[in-house]
């Protein structure tokens, strides 16, 4: 056992960039997938609505850790070997697609039916109705819960450590195994997550209150 030095602290904090990069990748993947799920779920085609519903329930009804394990092992069955980074990015993207899809479906459905009818009366077809009339209005409602989910997603990247991806939690475990200062090390890492997540939580809460006031 050796003592905990400043080089160890730097090693842990430097791994924060992998936490942020993984969060960004998962959010980007989840945004694309989530939009698709939200459109399917709120659309006119019953079969697509049911597929999107099943997809959402599947991800809401199973642990994220299992989703990550399967993202790690399923590609291997088809002959693709993924590294922990690929598995974590894939698993978290699919996870985020389901949750963002459900949040954004809710936002799309807050747009009054009259807006659809008015834009149809103006001769707009589905895609232009969506792009020009519905999505801009849904966006306002969607921002607070989307930022709230981003906080969940950043925290969720810590589970990538369990499948062996070296982000900040994994880096902390590595250093803890060598120096055994768990209180200091995991306290510090918790603080790092807090510094990133708390401002986002506050922003989400404030935007939500502003929306609630505007609706009154």
């Amino acid at each position: 056992m050796r003592t905990l030095g400043s080089a160890d602290i730097l090693f842990i904090l430097a791994a924060l960039r992998w936490t942020l990069l993984l969060s960004a990748a998962a959010f980007a993947g989840g945004a694309v997938g989530g939009l698709l799920v939200a459109l399917m779920r709120s659309g006119q085609i019953a079969a697509l609505r049911w597929i999107a519903f099943g997809y959402i329930k599947l991800f809401q009804g199973t642990p994220l850790l299992m989703q990550l394990f399967l993202a790690f092992f399923v590609p291997g069955i088809f002959g693709f070997n993924v590294d922990p980074w690929g598995a974590a990015a894939l698993g978290l993207s699919l996870h985020a697609s389901a949750f963002l899809g459900e949040i954004w479906r809710g936002a799309i459905e807050t747009v009054p039916k009259g807006q659809w009818e008015a834009s149809a009366a103006l001769g707009l077809k589905y895609w232009r109705q969506m792009r020009l009339i519905v999505l801009p209005q849904a966006l306002r409602v969607a921002i607070p819960p989307t930022v709230g989910f981003l906080v969940q997603l950043i925290k969720a990247t810590s589970l990538a450590s369990i499948i062996g991806f070296v982000e900040i939690t994994r880096a902390a475990q590595v250093i803890n195994n060598a120096t055994f200062q768990p209180f200091t090390i995991f306290g510090l890492v918790g603080l790092a997550y807090f510094v990133i997540c708390w401002p986002l939580s506050l922003y989400s809460k404030r935007m939500e209150q502003r929306l609630a006031t505007a609706r009154r």
Partner: protein, 223 residues
């Protein structure tokens, strides 16, 4: 695709999976029950307590909600022995889940309390009801109706989250999966079956909770 599926190794360990499943349900139910006590006390202190206490509770809520559960688990399991409190993996898991769900629960319970219009309580008082009667006859049912959906989805989240406790080798379903995987090397098959078991648990609880809501908590039809 020339992968050969081999599920029999997993199904042979059905007794381990069943034991893990029961441990998961037990751990989640215990954590939820104790967590609810924490949440009610916290919500009461937050709505009516002195200012310094309210700050402490706010700090607790924000700290827990803005850090990962895995880190909370590590601090409790690896960190607490440093100050002389050594816990078994199962005890540490239960404590971490209680601390975690308590923070989310306080906000849910508080919203429930605040959903009751003050005039209703005053009306009860005007009718000569005692505080306990007011709580039982006026506040309880609408407050339960208000918090029921959030509380039940919180339970499902807690149950799914408890799989993370396998990281400190707690004895629950994911831990059982890890044991079987280490012995048989059938990684995909083990985690596929266990994921299906978790999904079955979620579907079962979704069903039970919806039934309870229909049977006991539905608003009477306006006549």
């Amino acid at each position: 695709m020339n992968y050969v599926f081999e599920f029999s190794a997993v199904f042979e360990a059905w007794d381990e999976l069943l034991a893990g499943l029961i441990r998961t349900v037990w751990l989640s139910a215990a954590a939820m029950a104790i967590g609810l006590v924490v949440a009610v006390l916290g919500a009461l202190a937050k709505t009516g307590g002195p200012k310094p206490l309210r700050w402490v509770i706010d700090a607790y809520i924000e700290l827990i909600r803005n850090t990962p559960f895995l880190i909370q688990l590590f601090v409790i399991f690896f960190g607490l022995p440093a100050i002389g409190l050594r816990l078994e993996a199962d005890q540490a898991s239960l404590l971490a889940l209680v601390v975690n769900v308590g923070a989310y629960g306080i906000e849910i319970i508080r919203a429930g309390i605040e959903s009751i219009h003050h005039g209703q309580i005053e009306a009860g008082r005007a009718l000569g009801m005692r505080p306990l009667q007011i709580f039982r006859l006026i506040v309880l049912k609408p407050a339960l109706q208000a918090i029921y959906p959030s509380l039940t989805s919180q339970f499902i989240l807690l149950m799914l989250n408890s799989s993370v406790c396998s990281a400190i080798a707690a004895s629950e379903l994911t831990g059982a999966a890890n044991d079987i995987q280490a012995r048989t090397f059938r990684s995909f098959e083990v985690y596929f079956v266990v994921t299906a078991l978790y999904l079955a648990l979620s579907v079962m609880f979704w069903g039970i909770f919806a039934w309870i809501e229909r049977a006991f908590l539905r608003q009477p039809e306006p006549r």
